[in-house]
């Protein structure tokens, strides 16, 4: 990747991004879908975009998913 491509990637935004408020509001629903092996991104595409772009919300997602998985019996 050259320097301009890095800059392009850095400045990239996605209009589907729902923002932190909406993403956090449905985070529990989203995480349950992921934990159940369902396609959460298909049902909530704007949330998926946001969680990939926003570090703190992505971290909350990772934490909640880890919490839910800690309750699940080992496969």
């Amino acid at each position: 990747m050259n320097e301009r491509e890095i800059l392009e990637r850095f400045l990239q935004t996605d209009p589907r991004d729902v923002g932190c408020g909406e993403a956090i509001e449905v985070l529990h629903v989203y995480v349950d879908l992921v934990a159940a092996g369902q396609d959460a991104a298909d049902r909530f595409p704007g949330v998926a975009v946001h969680l990939a772009a926003c570090g703190p919300c992505g971290d909350d997602f990772a934490g909640l998913l880890a919490a839910v998985r800690s309750d699940q019996p080992e496969a």
Partner: protein, 226 residues
């Protein structure tokens, strides 16, 4: 970024009133029980689970925070306690869109996240408004061997930041992107919602991109790109 209150894909989930799973129904019944002994036992059990999750979460995030040792454990206990109060206060709002425990764990994860953001300012590695532009190439992930190109990119972005962004956008952009202050920490410092900071950065990125494109520095975006 859309400004609507609810995502159109979220709304159906909210109006569906799904059937509660057995475990979730059990939690709701026990936590709302009129028998005080049953209710107290459920509250103890829930608090124990919230504390376990809070302790695991502060450890998971420990490499990204200056908070350590007993202080981290204290923070987990506070997060579990505050989450417990919030859950009990909002029990009637649980609509069964997820498992009860996932809904409950969300409170404690968000408490940990918020409290760590607040603790950042007890011993911040970088002051607000430090404006460390010299670190920008590293933050972008530019190859240090291509120094000339990196210097040129930093100069272009800096010029746009200085001339195109509003004072508020510039301050937020520099704090988050240039100085690397965690978004949560900045939101706590400025006493605003996390989304307010995110939106400023989102809009600033678009503005910078438009300016660099107008100057011929970047190509026009593809159709469908913002």
């Amino acid at each position: 970024m859309r400004d609507g209150r609810y995502h159109d894909a979220v709304q159906p989930a909210r109006s569906a009133s799904p059937q509660l799973d057995e475990e979730s129904a059990g939690w709701l019944s026990r936590l709302a029980s009129e028998a005080s002994a049953e209710r107290a036992a459920a509250e103890r059990e829930l608090h124990g689970r919230l504390l376990r999750i809070a302790l695991a979460e502060v450890r998971r995030r420990s490499t990204l925070t200056p908070v350590t040792g007993p202080e981290l454990d204290d923070l987990a206990h506070q997060a579990a306690g505050d989450a417990m109060l919030a859950i009990l206060a909002k029990l009637a709002e649980f609509r069964g869109e997820s498992r009860f425990m996932t809904w409950a764990y969300r409170f404690v994860i968000l408490e940990v996240s918020s409290k760590l953001g607040r603790h950042y300012w007890r011993n911040p590695p970088v002051a607000l408004d430090a404006a460390q532009w010299e670190r920008f190439p590293d933050r972008l992930g530019l190859d240090p061997h291509q120094q000339a190109e990196a210097v040129c990119i930093v100069a272009e972005v800096r010029h746009v930041v200085d001339t195109e962004l509003t004072a508020h956008q510039r301050r937020i952009f520099i704090a988050i992107v240039i100085d690397g202050i965690p978004l949560n920490a900045l939101a706590e410092k400025l006493d605003v919602q996390r989304n307010a900071i995110y939106k400023v950065i989102f809009d600033a990125r678009r503005k910078i991109r438009r300016a660099l494109t107008a100057k011929g520095y970047l190509d026009e975006p593809d159709a469908g790109q913002p």
